[in-house]
């Protein structure tokens, strides 16, 4: 019964890979883990997200060993703290992304003896969308993409390198052969513009 349910979910996920339906199905699987430590449900989540986390982390510059370690840490967190995931507040991919991001930053200096609590950050951000209700995830993401497309080409290029490739300003300067000051100023202008576009859209608070 459980397996059949899982198979149906996986099939739905395959059909609608990044859509809202899969968000709903992921949320159902996470709830099964939270409520009764459902191993089948967890295995489906693991099979979907662990390989993606692995490749995403490598793309951001982690070596494969580190990426494996962080991926495993993230999956352990999902297993242990599934009840802290709130599908009304973020997609599962985003929730896992944030755990991976924070774990990666903590692991870069290899100060693993220090116990770092990702949940400290989650507790904070848990309130963040309570202000004026929830925008559906698809819609919210589209707004950022649309706003990014309004950037001048030379800024968009740098924003992509900084935001999606995870490059530092100095690395971007090296790659683009632009002076570091120009890189910095363009990126600053770009993100301020992005922010203002989203504000004008009414989806972000005025800063």
């Amino acid at each position: 019964m459980r397996l059949a349910f899982g198979a149906a979910v996986v099939s739905a996920i395959r059909q609608e890979n990044a859509g809202l339906e899969s968000n709903t199905e992921f949320a159902t699987l996470v709830a099964a883990v939270a409520e009764r430590r459902d191993r089948d449900a967890f295995a489906h989540l693991f099979d979907h997200f662990a390989p993606r986390l692995q490749s995403y982390l490598v793309r951001l510059g982690s070596d494969s060993g580190m990426a494996e370690e962080i991926t495993q840490d993230v999956m352990v967190t999902l297993w242990r703290k599934a009840e802290l995931f709130d599908p009304a507040k973020s997609s599962l991919a985003t929730w896992l992304y944030r755990i991976a991001r924070n774990r990666r930053i903590d692991s870069l200096r290899r100060d693993r003896h220090e116990y770092t609590d990702d949940m400290a950050v989650f507790d904070v951000d848990a309130e963040s969308l309570d202000v004026d209700g929830v925008i559906d995830m698809q819609h919210r993401e589209d707004r950022v993409r649309v706003a990014m497309e309004t950037l001048p080409v030379e800024q968009l290029h740098l924003v992509r390198l900084a935001f999606f490739e995870g490059l530092s300003h100095s690395e971007i300067a090296d790659r683009t052969k632009l002076p570091l000051g120009t890189v910095k100023s363009r990126i600053r202008l770009a993100f301020t513009r992005l922010r203002r576009t989203l504000e004008a859209d009414g989806v972000v608070e005025a800063g």
Partner: protein
């Protein structure tokens, strides 16, 4: 929140960047004066969302978000975009899938959070965890009368300090090569860029005349990070630079 007018950026904005943008998207455009203004905090928030800041700065921004609500939605939207990128990532083959699952199922209960119990009213949890001390246990070092410092970390990820400034004191003028990012935890201070109170982030580039003066009514406690110009993001080849002091 913080509007920094940084003069040397104006030429770049109006000359190369603003014009095509204005032509293409007139409805979204703010006036020409606005186009010459950037707010370093937006790029800092984006760096937080993208995970490209060093650990001290990352925690500084997390603490800011914990204290103040106004930037949370912007950060959350960027994180959703990054989450979508994760969702879209091409899956890579996992080694030892079954063994890894077994290890997870065999892992014990989650350790209890030390950070949650340690966070005080002044220092939010993400920062308390990083500092590793209660504020009362911090071993302050007197820099000059009325100004005390505790160096939290000094490494490639950034030079992080707690500062305790008596009311009305002026910090010694100092220069730094990169940006100095300061989060106010208690009280407030003013410098040439504005007035900052609890939860505000002040970003001082080396161009800025930086002589912060603490408010008169209360001790000012800040967490300050001099950021690394370069991030270490993994492969040895990308680890490049040693930080500057200030």
């Amino acid at each position: 929140m913080l509007i920094h007018t940084v003069r040397h950026y104006v030429g770049d904005a109006i000359g190369s960047a603003a014009r095509p943008w204005r032509e293409r998207f007139g409805a979204l455009i703010h006036d020409a004066k606005e186009a010459g203004r950037d707010r370093p905090i937006d790029a800092l928030l984006a760096g937080y969302a993208a995970g490209t800041l060093g650990k001290p700065l990352h925690r500084l921004v997390a603490a800011h978000l914990a204290i103040r609500p106004e930037n949370r939605r912007f950060v959350r939207m960027l994180e959703e975009t990054a989450g979508r990128r994760l969702e879209d990532a091409a899956p890579s083959a996992l080694r030892d899938r079954d063994a890894r699952l077994a290890a997870i199922f065999g892992s014990g209960p989650a350790p209890t959070s030390k950070a949650a119990t340690r966070s005080s009213g002044i220092v939010p949890a993400p920062l308390a965890d990083f500092i590793g001390h209660d504020l009362e246990d911090v071993r302050w070092r007197t820099l000059l009368p009325g100004v005390r410092e505790f160096k939290v970390s000094d490494d490639m990820d950034g030079d992080a300090s707690l500062l305790w400034i008596k009311p009305g004191r002026i910090m010694p003028a100092h220069t730094h090569e990169g940006s100095e990012v300061t989060l106010v935890l208690q009280g407030g201070f003013s410098d040439s860029t504005g007035h900052y109170r609890r939860g505000d982030i002040a970003i001082a580039d080396h161009e800025i005349d930086h002589r912060p003066r603490a408010d008169e009514d209360e001790d000012c406690i800040c967490f300050a990070v001099t950021d690394a110009p370069l991030r270490l993001t993994g492969p040895v080849g990308r680890i490049v630079q040693r930080l500057f002091g200030h």
